[in-house]
Symmetry: C2
Subunit: 200 residues, 2 copies
Amino acid sequence: MTATPTRSPAKRADAQRSIAAILAAAVECLGRNPDASVSEIAKAAGVGRVTLYGHFPNRVDLVDAAFARAVEEGHAALSEVDLEGDPRAAMARLIESSWLLVEQSRSLLLAAQAVLPPGRIRALHAGPAERVQRLIERGQAEDLFRTDLPTSWLVGIMHSVMHSAADEINAGGLVPDQAAPFITATLLAAFTPPGHRTPA
Amino acid sequence: MTATPTRSPAKRADAQRSIAAILAAAVECLGRNPDASVSEIAKAAGVGRVTLYGHFPNRVDLVDAAFARAVEEGHAALSEVDLEGDPRAAMARLIESSWLLVEQSRSLLLAAQAVLPPGRIRALHAGPAERVQRLIERGQAEDLFRTDLPTSWLVGIMHSVMHSAADEINAGGLVPDQAAPFITATLLAAFTPPGHRTPA
């Protein structure tokens, strides 16, 4: 978050409104065009460039904050997904809902991938990753997901298979509608314990 | 490749030597430091910056060409891998050898990821991807790899799981030595036909 220097409450409220407007505009503009400029975003937010640069010193900071905001909102939306019952069915539901969010954010993801290192993009997914981790651990406890690989590795595989699907759609190698079943079929097989049958 | 304008044979040979020296220096410098500058690379190549910019108008072109060169050399090295016999065992050998190359090129990969879109990085892997594709097709023909997902999708999964392992090592979440067995165990399960047993 951007540090707010000590100011009057009215000025602080102003600054917070500006930041909220800038982030909303950044999510929207970068969501349409991964190369959207800082000027475009300032215009869409209804603030001057000087105001924008006062809160986000450069475009990378702004893309980082916009991407973090989108991931946070997605993470909140995913709390609605039913993760009870068979861990494989729960994982299929979580993948489907998560994919919808990734698919809607493909342009913003591209903007983030263009300026943030892969490690930063992963770090911004700490919230969603923790939810996936808990579900995988439950599947491991029920002997339905493999325990011969670290849980964190399996979480990382889910992250990369989903983002890889987004990359393939961007490259024209995959139709968006196919992605969720492909991702689910791939991950449920990848998570199957050694020597067990994969889901039919 | 860089277009060579019509010149005398001696000048053309000079230009080719410069390009070769610049590419070798770029692979080496970016292989040590993903943020290596154009000046550093020119110095390591023993050419002036003007000469370098004459062949590679900007840093992105240079990183692209250096990464393409490294992938090409890796692809040539992988032709030594024995891909006969059980497709799963062959895939395990191909993964292990491919991973060694990715692991050696982690810094260069990071340099490429920082300036090239994911689609470009995939496109530069067309040669290695074709080899993987042929092996997967053989496994599919022998009913050992799944046919319910497109072969191109399975090739993409191998690409992203390997690069994801590199990202995790860069982020400190994985020790290099663990990666090859993790990648192999993940992919051989992911490639298992629905309802079949994963490798024990």
